[in-house]
């Protein structure tokens, strides 16, 4: 059964061009481009961005579940938007009515705010 776990992460809001060239530290970092000017580096231990006014903060507010293809397919039954098939694609929307993100890959990631973790797990039957 998948489980939503806290992760080490860093979050950046900066000029899009600066975000494109941001340098993330960490062994395995999954960078979620949440918005043109915002990124969440899951697994990151730090980040450098060339924007003097960029907001760079350590982030403990998200939880992540790692999913295999079958588990992602089960999650897809709880969304009313098409789950992308292409690896590396980030989808953002509600899963089971809970604001969440999904990064498709091997494994895929389901990400939500820690404040929603219990509710999302309950709704997905995890």
């Amino acid at each position: 059964m998948p489980a939503l776990e806290p992760v080490e992460a860093w979050r950046v809001v900066a000029a899009p061009a600066a975000l494109d060239s941001a340098r993330w530290s960490g062994d395995v970092v999954d960078v979620l481009r949440i918005a043109p000017d915002e990124a969440l580096g899951i697994g990151a231990t730090g980040v450098t961005v060339d924007d003097p006014d960029g907001i760079v903060e350590p982030e403990a507010g998200f939880v992540v579940a790692l999913l295999g293809p079958d588990q992602l397919a089960a999650v897809a039954a709880h969304v009313d938007w098409p789950m992308p098939a292409e690896h590396g694609t980030l989808a953002q929307g509600k899963i089971g009515g809970v604001p969440s993100k999904a990064l498709v890959g091997e494994p895929s990631l389901v990400v939500t705010n820690a404040a929603y973790a219990d509710e999302l797990a309950r709704r997905l039957g995890w």
Partner: protein
């Protein structure tokens, strides 16, 4: 009508408590007819799902078209009551407070390039050569409605289907036109195609008379069954023909109700569903709309009142408002209008989902209620015996079992409260001061680094949207706080304006990344000193330091009226910080306080809670908060509106009230002192343990700005706020 063939029984169903045998392939309606009865309360049966004359309660589900449901052994069928609507299923109201656990109905979501509704010839032709999904009722795909998208909601074996389609083709064919004349509500009348179905099912219709447009009326016996039909010959002569069954053939009408509910070019009708079939003669007497009981006289009365347009006539007469949505009456109502106007018949009226009965469980399948967030201290609250409640989108502790004790801990000792739910936004950039000066009605540029200011957030009309603090972290960086319930809206608001003005400002929402604990009370400073805060900020100051080893942004402010420090910190340090505060404050009598105590504490201080005390058109002046608005600023959102209305007297004001006894419920009306007229309402109410009175905040209407009012049947006096520590000495201590 009875069974003509000795076919083997496939089982029995119960109809109004009586067992009825059915044979393989029978619908419920056919099974009932086979037994010599009718499934509804009379009226012509179409047996094609077009009319409402066979509706019944099947296995506790009302409004089921029994002609569309196959009979199964053990099925329980109850006829709808002769008068009125079927009763709602009895529900234990206590169940409404719980998460539904009843039926878990799966929903299959799919997308199709083309969805074809109807599996007959026109449907097959429409699907030919296209990547189409066929939805055929005969195959168990019962379409309930077409929604914007366009999207189809259908009942399929085992669950519901939500199908989005680029194109939807309605190929549902045509319906037999129902008779409208005296006696049309008798049992024993069937349409032409229904008769064919019954004969094919081996049912003996007895003495059959076929009638068309020569029909004048049906005649019945005392039991409600037809015994004769009266017709008019071409020469005008009337004839009465005894019979057991009348087969009515008045032509066809398009079965296009699904097409009529879709206002999208992506939805079209084909085949017989798209043909403008000839209308029947204008009705002269009898029931036009069997679902609603609308008669020709009702149509005449509505017409006489001026409701001469089809949609208006529908609403005025109720014809077409029933379950079949005009399946029976629409051709007749159109003919009625065409006859009176002398022009072409009007276009058919619109339709709406659902075209088939749908249970709440089916409608709600795979939909969810709003998710309420939990702070990282949720389990700590539960461990302390908190009663949790939903507030502002979060689960929050309402109290810990002793509201007054929690209150006194704040007033006389030290207390901690979970304020993690507050909105928290970082803004940074070279234009940030310019942006905040435009957004907020207070000055921003003069806030020094390490200082903060209370601020209202106004919309363009000068109405209060939210409030919070502006904290300066650096020359070009600020932290903004907002109310728990208003945070998301406030964040969008400032983002939108910064984008609109094209200012160089970055925005990061930290609401769910940071938790916050409010440490408040006369001993708050001492407690924090024990945990590492050696140099506490003065009132409205803020510093970043470690408290009990947890990095915190410490904000000195007060909502309770006592000295207070908000400790904003990363959520992964919350539990450790909370426990350290409880542990080191034990000898100070520390206890946690919930929302109920907090609301009482703030009420004594006269602090507003935006969204609870305010209304959609509340201005700072009505709140007595002009001091938070600096009209000398050249511009800010809402300034023009406030300037324009500055000379207009307020029609109501938000003030304090006090009276003896227990506090009345929030929302209580405020009467003039004579009790003749309601002049306002209570927005906050609290029995003050300290002052020994009921204290209230509320709205009072202009013209009745009396000093004395009546609330909850008692006399109350208007009192200036704050009720407690008006000089603010304790908050600054």
């Amino acid at each position: 009508m009875t069974d003509a063939v000795d076919r083997p029984s496939a089982g029995r169903i119960a109809v109004d408590g009586r067992p009825i045998a059915f044979v393989e392939g029978d619908s419920v309606a056919v099974a009932v007819v086979r037994s010599g009865e009718v499934p509804g309360r009379g009226g012509a049966l179409c047996l094609a799902g077009d009319c409402g004359n066979c509706l019944a309660i099947v296995d506790r589900i009302a409004y089921v078209r029994t002609c569309q449901v196959g009979a199964r052994p053990g099925m329980v069928v109850e006829r709808h009551p002769a008068q009125g609507k079927p009763a709602l299923p009895s529900t234990d109201l206590r169940d409404l407070t719980r998460v539904p656990i009843g039926q878990d109905i799966p929903v299959r979501r799919a997308h199709a390039e083309v969805a074809v509704i109807g599996g007959a010839r026109s449907g097959r032709q429409a699907a030919e050569g296209r990547n189409a999904v066929m939805l055929d009722a005969a195959g168990g795909m019962e379409v309930v409605g077409i929604y914007p998208g366009p999207a189809i909601v259908a009942r399929e074996p085992g669950g519901m289907l939500h199908l989005e389609a680029d194109d939807i083709v309605v190929a549902t064919g045509s319906a037999d036109i129902q008779p409208v004349c005296p006696g049309s509500d008798l049992a024993g009348i069937v349409t032409a195609r229904a008769a064919e179905r019954l004969v094919a099912a081996g049912i003996d219709l007895g003495r059959v008379v076929r009638v068309g447009r020569e029909l004048i009326r049906f005649e019945g016996d005392g039991s409600g069954r037809v015994i004769a039909v009266v017709t008019r010959a071409d020469d005008g002569a009337q004839a009465t023909t005894p019979c057991d069954t009348v087969v009515v053939d008045l032509g066809r009408a398009p079965r296009d109700v699904l097409a009529r509910m879709a206002r999208s070019e992506a939805v079209s009708a084909v085949g017989s569903a798209a043909i403008d079939h000839p209308l029947p003669p204008s009705p002269t007497e009898g029931i036009v709309c069997p679902c609603m009981g609308t008669t020709v006289d009702d149509l005449e009365a509505a017409w006489a009142k001026g409701y001469t347009e089809l949609e208006l006539l529908k609403r005025a007469s109720w014809a077409g408002l029933g379950p079949c949505q005009g399946g029976a009456c629409l051709p007749h109502v159109r003919a009625f209008i065409a006859d009176r106007t002398g022009g072409p018949p009007p276009d058919p009226f619109t339709a709406r989902p659902a075209v088939r009965q749908i249970t709440l469980a089916e409608a709600a399948a795979d939909t969810t209620i709003d998710a309420f967030r939990r702070t990282p201290l949720h389990d700590e609250h539960l461990a302390l015996g908190a009663r949790m409640d939903r507030f502002g989108g979060w689960w929050r502790p309402w109290h810990y079992g002793d509201v007054v004790g929690e209150y006194w801990a704040v007033r006389e000792g030290v207390s901690i409260g979970d304020v993690s739910t507050l909105g928290k936004v970082i803004v940074s950039g070279p234009d940030v001061v310019e942006a905040l000066e435009r957004i907020y009605p207070c000055h921003v540029a003069d806030i020094k680094v390490g200082r903060s200011r209370y601020a209202l957030l106004l919309n363009e009309r000068g109405h209060v949207m939210d409030d919070g603090m502006i904290l300066r972290d650096g020359e070009t960086r600020f932290t903004l706080t907002f109310t728990s319930g208003g945070a998301a809206n406030a964040e969008m608001w400032i983002r939108d304006w910064i984008d609109t003005w094209d200012l160089r400002v970055h925005v990061m929402d930290r609401t769910m990344s940071l938790a916050a604990i409010n440490v408040t009370g006369p001993f708050a400073k001492e407690l924090l000193g024990r945990l590492g805060l050696s140099d506490p900020p003065r009132f409205l100051g803020h510093v970043r330091t470690e408290i009990a080893g947890v990095p915190c942004h410490v904000m000195r402010l007060s909502f309770t009226g006592e000295a207070a420090f908000e400790l904003h910190h990363s959520i992964d340090g919350s539990v450790a910080l909370w426990r350290a505060l409880m542990e080191h404050g034990r000898d100070l009598g520390i206890r946690a306080h919930g929302l109920q105590a907090l609301f009482g504490l703030r009420l004594e201080k006269g602090h507003v809670i935006v969204g609870m005390d305010t209304e959609l058109d509340t201005t700072p002046r009505r709140l007595g908060m002009d001091w938070a608005v600096r009209m000398e600023k050249p511009s800010f959102i809402g300034r023009a509106a406030l300037a324009r209305t500055a000379g207009i007297e307020d029609e109501r004001r938000w003030v304090g009230f006090a009276m003896d006894g227990e506090a009345p419920p929030e929302g209580s009306p405020i009467w003039d002192v004579a009790g003749d007229e309601i002049i306002g309402n209570v927005t906050g109410s609290w029995t003050s343990p300290l002052l020994g009175q009921a204290l209230m905040l509320g709205w009072q209407r202009r013209g009745r700005f009396d000093d004395r009012v009546a609330i909850d049947g008692r006399e109350a006096v208007v009192k200036p706020t704050p009720f407690y520590d008006p000089e603010g000495l304790r908050a600054r201590a």
